[in-house]
Symmetry: D2
Subunit: 406 residues, 4 copies
């Protein structure tokens, strides 16, 4: 095992490293001494490694493979805890610290990226469980009832905190998913649903994208003008072509594009689709996302662009996780058509759906790509924050205070 | 999470599924009822998910990334437990059941294969820890002292049970590795070293390879005769070539080959190399391994051949795990030349060595490959088990039924 | 690159290693000399590395990322060629060599396993292409028209040769998939559809499973008797329980199980489902597959069991490949609702379906698992091949001939 | 295969998408029509898929597994070409565009990241080749001579262009590595060695890190002052402790730290280590790298910090690739002690060394980490570019607009 990182010894005892979250309470003293904590205690291995009780052994015969089943699920839960740890910290950075949006972006992107790396591992992890055959599983399956992976509180929290919409969920045995939880767990879920989701926080942040101000760069107004002009010229050009099948195709295609953009610039249509659950981001946030895409090479937007990419990655990986889960279940219990009860396979399959993609609007931005020459020219000074002079001065001094704290 | 497999309900309550190990004690009754165990209880998540205590929070400021550090190491330990579970079961199958060698081979190979799949996951897992930068680690490293990954009992057990030789280990700070453990842990280690290792059990099993009997097929005698004849004819042929650089090269090469095979057929030289630790398998076991390689397509040897391959895979993956560990440590603490104490990086690097490869003799079998025409011809009836006569006769007649076909 | 394996030099020039396929033409002489072939020639790198022509450069501006797009697709096609190579060899082993089924099983399983390893790599490979953003792709997408991945001949051959059923395919723009190919390619496809598929060959092999003979072990007859008896006793026992909700549930469950098994033992129902495309394997083959599952620990069935597992693995991995493909497309071009033409995303999504699972019947065997005590007891002598005495003698002598050829 | 991305059709024919490199020559017209290029032509599959000629078939018997050997190596070479494509473009961005350093950083980081993703795939790819056993390889190895992976031109170019130092290479059979190449290949190698390496370009870029100017922020001067002060206070504090073993340990540790920092601030020592090849980066570049590490959360340094991380990742992955290669070779040909010639295994093992790590200085920065309170305070205005005054002033005022916010 590991642990080399452990091997180092750091000297500086008087001034402990400042916490990442820059708390004043940081003047604690490192009490680690030669008699300090050792590996097993530190990791509380007495708890972690004594939590594998085989139901088959308790209730009948010990079935060898049940141990794998338990360990795999515990590993999943450990990593879910880590994902929640990162997710909560990111939401916290968005909630409390938006004054310092820019300085926090590296942290935000790194932590979201870490979540994607964990999900990649979790997808890989199925390969281990898949060394168990359906026959091996059959030997202890009966002992598990009525335990069900559906009862994983952490996974539901994860979905809720990212922003899987309550009303878009597939019902489970015709009941609301929260009905499967009771007491403290049910309350934890309910309260998590009342906190701002990652989706909502990202939405607010996108709405603050510099350059969207009507009285400033006015990105949206300029973009609309450019696109309308572009489409008009395109149409003009096509109409001058000689009649042919190609011409007809191109005109038909142009009409479709025109419709798409007419819809894009119609705020009411956006509201309508939002209310139906077909869109998830506000109109303003969508504009911010598109702006970051178009100007992603501006220094100001490089890390924000990475964030948008990482958010789509999370969606994709969660959906891959779901799909790999479905595949594993198919191997383990088949499609089980007709055995009644909730068909595990079919229920799970239905959750591998775009309804569960939280950042689906970011995927669909590709519909609105246009030639670069149609994108409004940007002067970097346009990327200042939306703020009045007073506020700007406040920022500078606030900023100074932060820097000098170190 | 997951657990779809959980979703199924099995009917047959009266006759519980027979245990894998086919024990008569299997008549227990499944007590799972509608009021039975639920997911969180089953996995003892109260233990597993409440075992993350940040030392940075206890002793100074909460450092965000310490949580990742803890969870990653706990996940490693969980999987080490699973590997030990499989390893113990395989050793047990070899110890108690060798009369039924053949029927157990699928289980043995599957479980060894599962260990390789777990190691692959553990190699992947570094990618998650590597999302932590050296700077992030620096912020809480001081709090961990003197905990060290070197103190992982399970990893030492793992090494010992597979068969890493005590005297081939790199010392740690000039002390025996066991000196880092105390009390119960030290005893556990010591007693594990006294059990038969996987290497020893595989060795015994290889020594039983049917076909090795001097008074039977006499593989070794026949092989020696064929090779000597082959080399002689080869020499004869080369000597008739016209003088040229090519001829000289070929003769030089032939001499080297001849030396290799002369050494191979010298039992005393084998003993000598064994005593020096340059070889790990007995002479007879080596013969068995070579035999399985040459006749791997015989139905009797197909699964044994898979086993030899899987054992090399374990060696390779453990060494890859070590190497990835070294790389991660290099990122985290650099080479730390001159900081004194045990240099984590340099110590770990020294363990990425063939001295730690348990099945190194299997890798080196390639030295002894010969043209297929030199391999002694085999009659399938030669492949009967070495067991008491009664049993053998019964087996042979049964076997004949199986082998003789169409 | 690599190539250490290249470094070795083998001596034995007179008797070249016998080909895997044991052809007499093997007495060729190794002409490799010091002046022989070098790395670049051997790999024909002049072809492979000069096949990257960017359409964006030909038709407009060089777009950097098009190179990645080309290389990724070429790597896919290289690996498809390798998969076809393995697939053809496995089919060939099944077609020509069934007299020696048993000796070929290691080869068959190893090659099928290799295909699964390649598919795993191909799934990983999407991660590289996904480093290209939708915006980067947009910059050269127009130059590719009308090229389409749908036109990959090798992928269609792959599907056809494994056994994706023509009539189960999703139409492409309302046309038969073969209509997208012309000339030689169309003929190649058509003729591949007329060869026996892997599915069909596996089916024939399963039908030959020893133990199925009515006048021998009569597995099917015995199994039916045991299950009927088991269900009867189960019912009897349940009826004696006191009335309760639990009792009702169990009875309902028992009825469902009884229906499942009644259907299983009804050959006409099987024919009916076959004709509808809901089943793919013949009745006899299904029996063989179930038998191999139940007796997988018999030495005779260990490798066959591995084969069935590996076949399901291929199905699973192809479907994962399809799903990862869909995810990648969603990132690249969004859902493109309304753009008309064939919606790439929606078409592809429809192919991630059980209709494309060739060995779906093997997944559904889990429906027919029963307690081990219901499985007919087997005497290993039952596993002889179906053959009369004459034939058996012929086999033995034939066998001898094969062995002695070496 | 794939290709959904192909499926889309883009409309805008008049104004072709602007090239990534923003060239005026971009007014080309998309000539793709209904009669345009199809998949197989686009990918030049006639070349790529007709480049697999088995030497075993040419010179003796067809050995099935040689096809895998060829395809695997071709896939490696394809990906090496892609890595060179990215590497050249990154070097080009550094060479020509340094005035716009900041705007290019996203591209640079993305492309370096892409290289790491490709290397990850290449490490995975060994798993496919490893499905070939040593025995399978033995059957065709003789036909390959004298081809050797050592002859891969692209891999040597890759090493040279990244910056593997000529004089740090392990000799190959006591000869300079370039002696293995002839004619055009040798010239290509030689000329690539005369171009600026990635290492050198990164070094120049690091030397331009804003904040290093003596007459500006003067990072290095301030850092030295802070560290000296910090160490003095630390010593003062320790001396006041009561005598104890702990005190002695801490003092010894402090002395070591003091030595490390004394060396760090001694430019002559740096020159000395550079000349010996123990360091690779100039003194100024090292300062820049340390600065980026300390201030990585400054918006200006977030992406540069990602770049440093990605460069270490490349080093790590190349070394992992080498190590996996060694493992594969060990499986294929064993250690081959005594067979003479260049022992493939031992030669390759010697290249898995820190001598081949190009960015090793970045790993060793961890030696110089200090408590955050010792890091000089930074005012964001210090981070302006070093460029001609006019440009700087323009930038600063623009920049101010960007930085100063809310």
């Amino acid at each position: 095992m590991s642990g080399c990182p452990f091997l180092g010894r750091k000297l500086f005892t008087s001034k402990p490293s400042q916490a990442e979250e820059e708390d004043e309470s940081q003047k604690g003293i490192n009490k680690a001494t030669k008699g300090g904590i050792v590996y097993g205690e530190y990791l509380q291995l007495d708890k972690v490694l004594n939590a594998q009780v085989l139901q088959s052994q308790q209730k009948g015969d010990k079935i060898h493979d049940e141990h794998l089943f338990i360990v795999t699920h515990q590993a999943y839960e450990l990593w879910f805890k880590q994902i929640l740890w990162e997710l909560d910290s990111v939401r916290d950075l968005f909630i409390k610290k938006h004054v310092r949006d820019e300085r926090n972006m590296l942290k935000v992107v790194s932590r979201i990226h870490r979540i994607t790396m964990i999900f990649k591992l979790l997808v890989e992890q199925f390969a281990v469980l898949e060394t168990m055959t359906a026959l091996d599983f059959f030997d202890f399956r009966e002992y598990l009832s009525p335990a069900s992976g559906f009862q994983s509180l952490q996974f539901r929290l994860l979905e809720a905190k990212i922003g899987v919409a309550d009303h878009l969920r597939v019902p489970y045995n015709r009941r609301h998913y929260r009905d499967n939880f009771h007491g403290q767990e049910s309350e934890t879920l309910l309260s998590s649903e009342q906190e701002p989701t990652l989706l909502q926080l990202v939405e607010k942040w996108l709405e603050r994208t510099p350059g969207l101000e009507n009285d400033g760069f006015n990105f949206w107004g300029k973009l609309q003008a450019n696109i309308e002009e572009g489409l008009k010229m395109e149409k003009h050009k096509l109409e001058k072509m000689e009649d042919s099948e190609v011409k007809e195709d191109l005109l038909a295609e142009l009409n479709k594009q025109t419709e798409i953009f007419t819809a894009l610039f119609d705020p009411k249509r956006h509201e309508h689709l939002l209310s139906k659950g077909e869109l998830r981001l506000s109109y303003k946030a969508l504009q911010g996302a598109l702006m970051i895409n178009f100007y992603r090479e501006e220094p100001r937007f490089q890390v924000p662009f990475q964030l948008l990419t990482a958010l789509m990655e999370i969606d994709t990986l969660m959906t891959k996780w779901r799909y790999n889960h479905v595949c594993m279940v198919h191997r383990m219990i088949g499609s089980k058509a007709g055995t009644g009860g909730s068909s595990g396979y079919h229920y799970l399959r239905s959750t591998v759906s775009d309804r569960y993609k939280v950042f689906v609007d970011l995927f669909n931005l590709t519909k609105f790509l246009v030639p670069r020459s149609w994108v409004p020219k940007l002067n970097p000074t346009h990327l200042a924050f939306q703020t009045d002079e007073l506020c700007k001065n406040r920022y500078v001094s606030e900023r100074r205070g932060i820097e000098e704290k170190q």
